[in-house]
Amino acid sequence: MRLKIVFNMLGKLLIFVGLSMFLPLLVALYYREMDAVSFLVSMGLTVSIGKIMQRFSFSQQEIRHREGFAIVTLGWILISIFGSIPFMLSGVFDNFIDAFFESVSGFTTTGATVIMSLESLSHSILFWRSLSHWLGGMGIIVMSIAILPELAGSMQLFKAEVPGPVHDRLRPRIKETAKTLWVIYLLLTVSQIILLFVNDVPLFEAVIHSFGTVSTGGFSSRTLSVRAYDSLIIDGIMVFFMFLAGTNFTLHYQVLRGNIKALFNNKEFRFYVFLVTTAIILITINLRLQVYKTIVESIRYAAFQTLSIISTAGFATVNYDIWPPFSRGILLVLMFIGGSAGSTAGGIKVIRIYALMKKGFQELYKLIHPRAVTSLKIGNRAVSEEVSTSILGFFFLYIIVFVVAAITLTSFGIDIVSSISAVAATLGNIGPGLGLIGPLKTYVPLPITGKLLLSFCMLLGRLEIYTVLVFMLSGFWRK
């Protein structure tokens, strides 16, 4: 471990985050809000600390695996800490833990909140919350790779931050790949802002909701979330973009370049579509029979909630906590699955579930034909033994973390459904869960240790467990 490089890089990231606070500062100035001061102060603080870290740790050495993990993990923690400063300074929270929770929830695109009433917040704070989503969605490190020339070739960092079991390159160079990803991301965001704006959503709120959708975050500017608009068109736009945000960005790239066939040939995409439609149909039937009177209403709510959960955005147009157990059960399962690899969504990822399923069937098949030589294939591509083992390992660790965290939460006296859904919702970066932390409720009632634990779960989920856990292994620190 060469701490110098790590600190140097962390300094860079801090400067970066500090500079990004300039945007909410502009918002504050536009709306003539007092919070401009708190943003100015936190920006100055973040940038100067970043500068100091850089000054004292100059290093020309190359980033290797270990440093990559350390930079990404520590970077995300640091960014979250510094991202919480504006919340503290503007007096939204009276304790640091809440501010930190909100900040982590922002950057990891979870969307779990500890703010009771969003209407009482200033525009700039709302904007900062959503901006943290947007920055964290595609990844701050991916962005720095695209922008900073020094980071041009660091596959290590890229790998540690971008979700998914395998990493496709869109372009020969990492830098170009990162740039392309950000361009697609920007395109999606801008088109959603325009669409929402055209459909009578005020510009500021259109921006907030687009940031929340495309990054699959889920922070809204209204306490009632998207329900506040109660418009079929807006629901439709949101559903469409949540679906896109949960799709692999490689596919977006290919479609944008005119290769629409890639969409239909992609096994993961097909499975994703299959999952989404099945869930919507099942929930619709269940809702039509037990809750709503019309089929349209059922489909509308079912579709929105399904996509909101599977894309791990976590918006809500209805209090699904009062839905029948079957629908809630499906939503809980979707929390674990999450979106496609290479998207901004969280969760275990569709491709992993697909591979695990295939692997499971393969084992069954082997029982019938003990001598069969098999190879795990997704589409026409064989998944190497190494990758499939890593998928199995990932699944195991995900479940272990889930179980441990859920049990710990119950020890605070929280009921079992709330505990399970809270951990699933934070580990999968979704946001709202069931029961105590249902779609219309917040994480406020949880104890402080619980909030810290869940913040940690969010980081684990966003960085796909391995990156964070390897950092905590003792062998990692050995020379």
Binding site: I147, L148, P149, G153, R169, R171, P172, K175, K179, S384
Partner: protein, 465 residues
């Protein structure tokens, strides 16, 4: 503040610049990886294609390249790699046929520059032109051939031909190292009997380059740069090898392809050859194929055998067996036993840096040589040939003023300057390598080799015309 501004500028450039020059490398072996590393440093986008998934994953982590699993002979893979916008194709996989086929595809798909590695020596015996003209392969590298050439150079440090070429390759520059036995040594430049249409343009003595004149003397240790038209080197070669008559004793350890080719290159009348090979069957093959050579059956690391065959008398010992370790060891033994010059061949890149640890004269690695050859080729296109000999000499094109030409002036009438020399006179389609008596004609163009960085050569040469 200004540092901030420059930083922003850098970031802006970084965001807007987009390298368009793409290269595809087929073969993720050591050479492929090294080339990829060098190319990315030169600012080119690189895509590596290889059949082996595992190799690619390593490649992707070490170098900033895109790695594609597949075969170079699969057009779908090539298309996926973006061959339509590729300018450079390097096929260096371990399979000759696939390399050639990949190159052909690349040529047909419109790649500008194509480099292929071909291991089989017989594949390119004298048929290089077929490859370059009909198949569009710009450079063929054969590891064995390069090593043999290199060893030849080491054994007989005479000349390197075609280190630079000008005017579409019609005029070439050769480098001749002068040894004690060289016919050039201790002669005045004016006394040297060069073939017609050749010219000594510069002399390198103690790392200093200068342009010699008739009264300069050539000493052993000098390096002479001779300019001549294409094909002049044969004449020059004859001239140089006139007085080479004492035979060297060369011991070749290992019956590999390299040693086989070396044995063919050095005929009986030039050297006394013996070859040691472990495998009896291979020995018999060699005996049938080669004549005028002593084939010994035994281990090259067997010290008794080496002593018996008089290794202490050997001038040159070449260890080129199949195993790197054995080569290094036998080389070391030969050196200890008194062989004058020891060359060891190692295949793996790691051993090529052993020369400081292992006490042999030269360690040659085919891989490194191939790499260097390809990189040289790539640099050729990069650096404009305006400067040659590592930038020490500059090349300037100058038109002869009409007034000057009409007067019927000759070269020796020019203002004499010691730091430039007229190398080539281009007269229409004709190329003349001039001597002092050449008369200028109208519309002549001069290619001038100069050591100075002055820009106004026209005035220097022709005065006020």
């Amino acid at each position: 503040m200004s540092s901030m501004v420059s930083k922003f500028k850098k970031i802006k450039d970084n965001l807007t610049s987009s390298p368009a020059y793409q290269a595809i490398i087929y073969g993720g072996n050591q050479i492929g990886l090294q080339l990829a590393d060098q190319l990315t440093k030169l600012g080119r986008d690189v895509v590596i294609i290889d059949e082996d998934d595992r190799v690619l994953r390593q490649a992707q982590e070490k170098v900033d390249v895109m790695a594609l699993a597949g075969s170079g002979v699969d057009i779908a893979t090539l298309k996926q790699a973006g061959i339509s916008k590729t300018k450079l194709m390097i096929a260096v996989s371990n399979n000759d046929e696939k390399n050639i086929l990949t190159s052909i595809y690349a040529n047909k798909l419109g790649v500008d520059e194509i480099v292929a590695k071909i291991n089989d020596y017989h594949a390119l015996n004298k048929s290089n032109s077929v490859f370059s003209e009909n198949l569009g392969i710009d450079l063929i590298v054969n590891p064995c051939q390069i090593v043999v050439e290199q060893i030849k150079d080491l054994i007989r440090p005479t000349m390197k031909t075609e280190i630079e070429s000008f005017v579409d390759g019609r005029v070439q520059l050769s480098e001749v190292m002068i040894s004690h036995r060289s016919p050039f040594a201790f002669n005045h430049i004016a006394q040297i009997d060069l073939p017609p249409q050749t010219l000594i343009i510069s002399l390198l003595r103690r790392n200093r380059l200068f342009i010699p004149h008739g009264e300069h003397k050539i000493y052993p240790g000098d390096t002479v740069y001779i300019l001549g038209k294409k094909g002049f080197r044969a004449k020059l070669g004859q001239l140089l090898s006139k007085s080479q008559n004492n035979k060297e004793k060369i011991v070749l350890a290992g019956g590999s392809n390299i040693n086989y080719q070396l044995a063919k290159v050095f005929k009986r009348n030039q050297a006394i050859l013996s070859l040691i090979e472990e495998d009896e069957a291979r020995c018999e093959e060699l005996v049938e194929d080669l004549s005028d050579i002593l084939i010994l059956h035994g281990k090259p690391t067997n010290i008794d055998l080496l002593k018996e065959e008089g290794i202490d008398q050997a001038d040159i010992f070449v260890a080129a067996g199949d195993k790197d370790e054995a080569n290094l060891l036998s080389g070391l033994a030969a050196k200890k036993l008194g062989s004058k010059k020891v060359i060891a061949i190692v295949n793996s890149l790691e051993y090529s840096y052993f020369s400081e640890i292992v006490n042999v004269d030269t360690i040659l690695s085919p891989q490194v040589l191939v790499l260097e050859r390809i990189l040289d080729f790539l640099h050729q296109g990069q650096v404009e040939s305006e400067s040659i000999l590592n930038g020490q000499m500059r090349l300037v094109r100058v038109d002869v003023p009409k007034k000057f030409a009409r007067k019927g002036m000759e070269i020796k009438d020019l203002n004499n300057s010691s730091d430039l020399i007229i190398g080539i006179v281009i007269r229409g389609k004709e190329l003349i390598i001039p001597d002092g008596d050449l008369e200028f004609k109208e519309d002549d163009q001069l290619l001038i080799f100069t050591l100075s960085a002055k820009s106004d050569l026209q005035r220097d040469l022709f005065g006020n015309y």
